[in-house]
Amino acid sequence: MVEVNFGRRRPETVVGLRRVAELKEWEGNRIGAAVTWRRVEREGPGAYAQAARTVGSPQIRNAGTIGGNLGTASPAGDGHPFLAAVDASIEVASATGRRLVPWNEFFVGPKRSSLQQGELITAVVLPERLPERHGFGKVGVRNAMVISTVCAVVTRDHDGRTTVALGSVGPTVLRVPAAEEMISAESNPSEADLAEFARLVSEGVRPITDHRSTEQYRRHAAGVLARRLLERCLR
C-alpha cells in the first residue's frame, strides 16, 4: 500500500486476501499467513510474541500479518529471527500445488525472497517442539514505531543446544553457527564463555553502515544483545 500511496506502483489488478478465512487459521504449529501481529502478540510462543509486540504501532499490529512481513522480506523484519532460530518453514501455494520452504531458502537477499510468480504465502510452519527457553530483543532509537538497528532471538534447549538468529545485521536474517557450537558445548557457561559467545556473534554478523546506524555499532550491539538474551535463557 505504501508503494501505491507514493505512486511507485499502480497495479491494474489487485486481489484482496483479508476475507480469506483459511489464511487466518492457526492450528498447533501451523500459523496461517493472514494471522496478524496482534494475535501473535497475544497467542504466540514466547519469543515470537515478544517480537510481535515490537512491530510498528497498535494500528500496524492490528492490520499487519506474518505473511506480509515475510513477503516484504526486509532484513530488518522483526518476525524473522524467531523463525530462523527455531528452523521454521514457510508454506507457499500456487495453482499447481503447495511447497514448504525452509527459512534459509526463503530469504535470498534484502527485500528478496524465493517466492515465485503466481505463488502465495499461506502459512508459517514451526517445528513440532520448540526449544525450552527462548527470547527476543531489539535495539532501536525509540520504544515504539521503530525499525530495528539490531534484533535477535536466542533459544536454549534442556540439553544446552543453543541457537542465535539476528536481523538488521546482514542482507537477510542470519544465524551464527560458530557462536552456537561454542556455547552449546558449555552446560554451565562461565563469564569467559559468555564473553566469547558475544565476541563470536559480533564477528559472525554482516552489517552495513546506512542512515540508521553504522557497521561498527551494529556489530557491537549484536554481541551485547545476543549475550543478554542468552543470560535470560540461562536464568
Binding site: 500500500m1 505504501v2 501505491v4 500511496n5 507514493f6 506502483r9 499502480r10 497495479p11 491494474e12 489488478t13 489487485v14 484482496g16 486476501l17 483479508r18 476475507r19 496482534r38 510498528g56 504501532s57 497498535p58 494500528q59 500496524i60 492490528n62 492490520a63 520504544n143 515504539a144 514505531m145
Partner: protein, 152 residues
C-alpha cells in the same frame, strides 16, 4: 468496482479504482473528512479508523478489502454530541493544530471501550501509533488520564 460496507452504522457503496486505499475512498468518494492523510505510510496515525473492531491506519487498507466490513471514523465515535474523550480533550486544551486529533480520538475511544481505566503507560502504548507534530502530548495524556480517573 463497487465496494459495499457499513460506515458509521450505515450501509454505503463506494466506487473503488484498482489499488486505492480506504482512506482515499473515505475522503474522495464518501466525503468523510475526519480521517486525515499525512504520512501515507502508517507512521503517523492521523488516518486512524476502526475496521471490524480494530484500530488501523486507513491509508494502509486496500479499499477493495473493506467489502462487507464495519468501518467507524471519528464522525461515528459518538452518538450525538461529544464523547467523554472529546470533552476531556477540549477541557485540557489537548488540541493545537488539530490535524492529529481525529486519529487520537479514534484510538483513545477504542482504548476506553475495551479498557475503561487505563494506566498512564497503557494510554501511552495505545497512542504509540499517533504522532502529534505539535508535540502536544502532555495535554493529550492529561486529558485521557482525567477520563481514566473518572473526572469526566
Amino acid at each position: 468496482m463497487i465496494v459495499t460496507f457499513r460506515l458509521n452504522g450505515e450501509q454505503v457503496n463506494a466506487r473503488v479504482a484498482g489499488p486505492a486505499s480506504l482512506l482515499d475512498v473515505l475522503r474522495d468518494e464518501l466525503g468523510m473528512y475526519g480521517p486525515k492523510e499525512a504520512c501515507s505510510q502508517g507512521e503517523c496515525g492521523s488516518c486512524s479508523i476502526v475496521l471490524d473492531g480494530e484500530v488501523v491506519c486507513s491509508c494502509l487498507v486496500l479499499a477493495a478489502d473493506a467489502e462487507g466490513s464495519e468501518v467507524t471514523t471519528v464522525e461515528g465515535v459518538s452518538q450525538g454530541g461529544l464523547n467523554a474523550i472529546q470533552e476531556a480533550m477540549l477541557r485540557e486544551g489537548a488540541v493545537q493544530c488539530g490535524f492529529c486529533t481525529p486519529g487520537i480520538v479514534v484510538a483513545a475511544s477504542k482504548l476506553f471501550e475495551t479498557h475503561p481505566r487505563p494506566t498512564r503507560i497503557e494510554i501511552k502504548e495505545a497512542l504509540a501509533g499517533n504522532i502529534c507534530r505539535c508535540t502536544g502530548y502532555g495535554a493529550i495524556i492529561r486529558a485521557l488520564e482525567s477520563v481514566a480517573g473518572g473526572e469526566a
